[in-house]
């Protein structure tokens, strides 16, 4: 169940009663505006013939309307606070994925694999160097055997060695 209910407190907090909803509503309005701008160069079509721009534009307006409702809710109904954003998780997890994306083609799975595995593991607080490194090596070998050898996916394993 949404942890939101747990955080909800009974006391009203001034004008903004649900900071989380306010954030959500503002995001929706902003996204709607952004899409409206992004589809502004597309023809909307006339009458019976809906053009490429009609659907996105219609959706933009709906998004902004829903966003307005969520903002209204945030001002009237007591809801959860904004949760703290963790930095460690996104940095290590998504950083590892990006590292993989950058290295897989030039250096191959032999390098990209252990790199991504080792970096990502440090998203958890209780990770230690040595077991992590051993695990990364074993896992990479397993992935090469599974994806390259058994499933024959055309993924570069060691392009500098011609594999």
């Amino acid at each position: 169940m949404p942890d939101t209910d747990v955080n909800a407190t009974a006391e009203p907090r001034g004008l903004i009663k649900s900071p989380q909803d306010l954030m959500a509503g503002l995001f929706l309005v902003a996204f709607g505006l952004f899409c409206l701008w992004a589809s502004s160069n597309l023809s909307g079509g006339r009458g019976a013939n809906l053009g490429p721009g009609s659907f996105p534009r219609g959706l933009s307006f709906l998004l902004m309307a829903v966003g307005a409702v969520v903002i209204a809710q945030a001002l009237t109904t007591i809801g959860p606070k904004l949760e703290a954003w963790s930095v460690r998780g996104p940095v290590f997890v998504l950083g590892a994925v990006l590292l993989f994306a950058v290295t897989v083609r030039p250096l191959g799975l032999v390098v990209a694999g252990p790199l991504a595995l080792m970096v990502s593991a440090f998203a958890a607080k209780d990770t230690r160097w040595l077991p992590n490194a051993i695990f990364a090596v074993i896992m990479t070998i397993f992935c090469i055997l599974l994806f390259k050898v058994a499933l024959k996916l055309p993924i570069p394993v060691a392009p500098w060695a011609g594999w």
Partner: protein, 522 residues
């Protein structure tokens, strides 16, 4: 009976021997050709992986199917879908193991099993709880398979009468159901559907070929990748969420005890299993995540009609038998809207659409006619899969319990690796991996703002079709927007829209909203 002839065809497909050539990784000069029942093997593999995923808390079926999609590329479509279906209902089974033994629902649908299942385990009856849930699930799976087989033909006939306007209205209704039956705020779920629809418009326009919202990025002109969104928002974002709330796995230290329920247990469980099966089957058919509601409804019913409701929550066998049956029945029947109408009722089925499309199959009523082997093969495989699950789960339970001890800080890097390799190999393009990371971040941000991302995926999958049908309907009606609610000429479409409107109004009534919250928080 047509139905049995069709099922027979299906069993034939599932059990068919196929020539497979082995080159032993290119070492042998001549390929060795064996004839093997490859579909059965894939079904088994799917069930095993599904159980694994269901057992491990923190790895959902959505993330698994998304990350295994690329593995199925090399298979033929029948085999690929059989395996993916196996993962799905396998996960439903596995989820109950974790619920009973560790007091954590391994999967959203086993939330209620925790209540009485874990209590039974505490009372030293873990084995019986696992046994009865397996038996109930198998029975439910068998009935649900028959229901699918008998409903498929009539529903498909109805669907063939549909024009663009009816289809558009049906999709609107499906999405509204999904929104109302989803967890959390209805308004926010609507917002997510709209975001999903919006994302589906990125790429070339279907009719004019104009680039839409691509910002002149060549990579975006084919549209956003379905797998990148699914893996990013479910796989990666889920990992980020789990890392923030480290769970303590309190694996049961008691002995599991004997698995086979006594005669008295079976007698106590028989009626709840029967009721649960029908409740689950009925709710599973509903568009929207009906499969999740089944167990809740079944538990409530059992508690209401019990002679002594106070036993519930303290290890009542009815509280395990009913919901577990409902859970599995719903998982099976949720294939009905997908197979007959081409409309995915939940995020897992949306992934199945993705899988079908990758294999060049457009899901919908025409599948049954054009590919009867695929259609009936998949349905027959579900029954066989359920039988396998009975075997996989009962004797191997000790193995699954050991799996619960795999630490999460080894599990999640492995998942990340699988996802990254998988997403890369779809197009051999590192850009897709970058996109997935981006959607992971978006998913994490959405979660922080209190959004559930499942409706977004549904919207994204249905978006292209919805737009196409909308534009065609308007073209055919010469610009008259009342075509969708024209009771005289288009009664089906009008009815569907009316149902959708009623649903949304009901969802906003304060009293219903309250009881809905109760259902989901219990």
């Amino acid at each position: 009976m047509d139905m049995f002839a069709n099922l027979w065809l299906g069993f034939g497909v599932t059990l068919e021997l196929k020539p497979i050539s082995f080159t032993l990784f290119g070492l042998l000069e001549q390929a060795v050709v064996y004839r093997l029942p490859i579909n059965i093997f894939l079904c088994f593999l799917g069930c095993m992986i599904g159980t694994l995923v269901g057992v491990l808390p923190g790895v959902g079926p959505i993330a698994t199917i998304a990350m295994l999609l690329p593995i199925t590329f090399g298979l033929d479509p029948v085999g690929a879908l059989i395996m993916l279906a196996g993962i799905y209902y396998g996960a439903q089974y596995g989820g109950s193991t974790t619920a009973i033994l560790v007091n954590i629902p391994g999967e959203a649908t086993s939330v209620v099993t925790v209540l009485d299942g874990h209590q039974m385990a505490r009372n030293g009856r873990a084995g019986v709880a696992l046994g009865i849930s397996a038996i109930g699930s198998f029975f439910a799976g068998t009935v649900a398979t028959l229901i699918i087989a008998s409903l498929a033909i009539p529903l498909t006939r109805v669907a063939l009468l549909f024009g663009p306007a009816e289809y558009f209205s049906l999709m609107v209704m499906g999405l509204i159901f999904a929104v109302v039956l989803a967890r959390g705020s209805v308004v926010k779920a609507i917002a997510m559907v709209l975001c999903g629809l919006m994302l589906s418009t990125v790429g070339q326009d279907l009719e004019t070929g104009a680039d839409r919202m691509t910002f002149r990025w060549a990579e975006l002109s084919d549209g956003l990748d379905f797998a990148a969104i699914a893996m990013g928002m479910f796989g990666f974002a889920e990992i980020l969420r789990n890392l923030e709330n480290p769970e303590t796995r309190d694996v049961l230290k008691n002995k599991i005890g004997k698995l086979l329920p006594s005669w008295q247990d079976l007698k106590d469980a028989a009626k709840p299993i029967l009721r649960g099966t029908f409740i689950g089957s009925a709710l599973g058919i509903l568009p929207g995540n009906g499969a999740v509601l089944g167990p809740f409804a079944s538990y409530t019913v059992e508690k209401k009609i019990a002679k002594d409701p106070s036993r519930f929550g303290r290890g009542a066998i009815e509280g395990v038998a009913g919901p577990e049956s409902a859970n599995n029945a719903g998982a099976q029947t949720s294939f009905i809207p997908l197979l007959t109408l081409g409309i995915p009722p939940n995020a897992v089925m949306a992934l199945m659409v993705g899988a079908m499309t990758i294999h060049g199959i457009v899901p919908g009523p025409q599948v049954m006619e054009k590919r009867p082997d695929l259609f009936w093969g998949m349905i027959a495989s579900m029954w066989i899969g359920n039988l396998m699950l009975l075997i996989i789960n009962m004797p191997l339970i000790g193995l699954w319990v050991k799996l619960l001890k795999v630490p999460y800080n080894m599990l999640f890097p492995a998942i990340l690796m699988f996802c990254s390799i998988g997403i890369y190999s779809i197009n051999n393009n590192p850009f897709d991996v970058v996109m997935t990371a981006f959607f992971g971040m978006v998913g994490y941000a959405l979660m922080k703002m209190g959004f559930e991302v499942a409706p977004l995926l549904l919207g994204f999958v249905l978006g292209k079709l919805m737009e196409e049908y909308l534009r065609r309907s308007i073209l055919m009606s010469r610009g008259d927007w009342s075509v969708f609610v024209d009771f005289v000429n288009r009664p089906i479409s009008a009815t569907l829209i009316v149902i959708a409107v009623i649903m949304i109004v009901v969802a906003f009534l304060p009293s219903i909203n309250k009881s809905r919250d109760e259902v989901f928080t219990e």
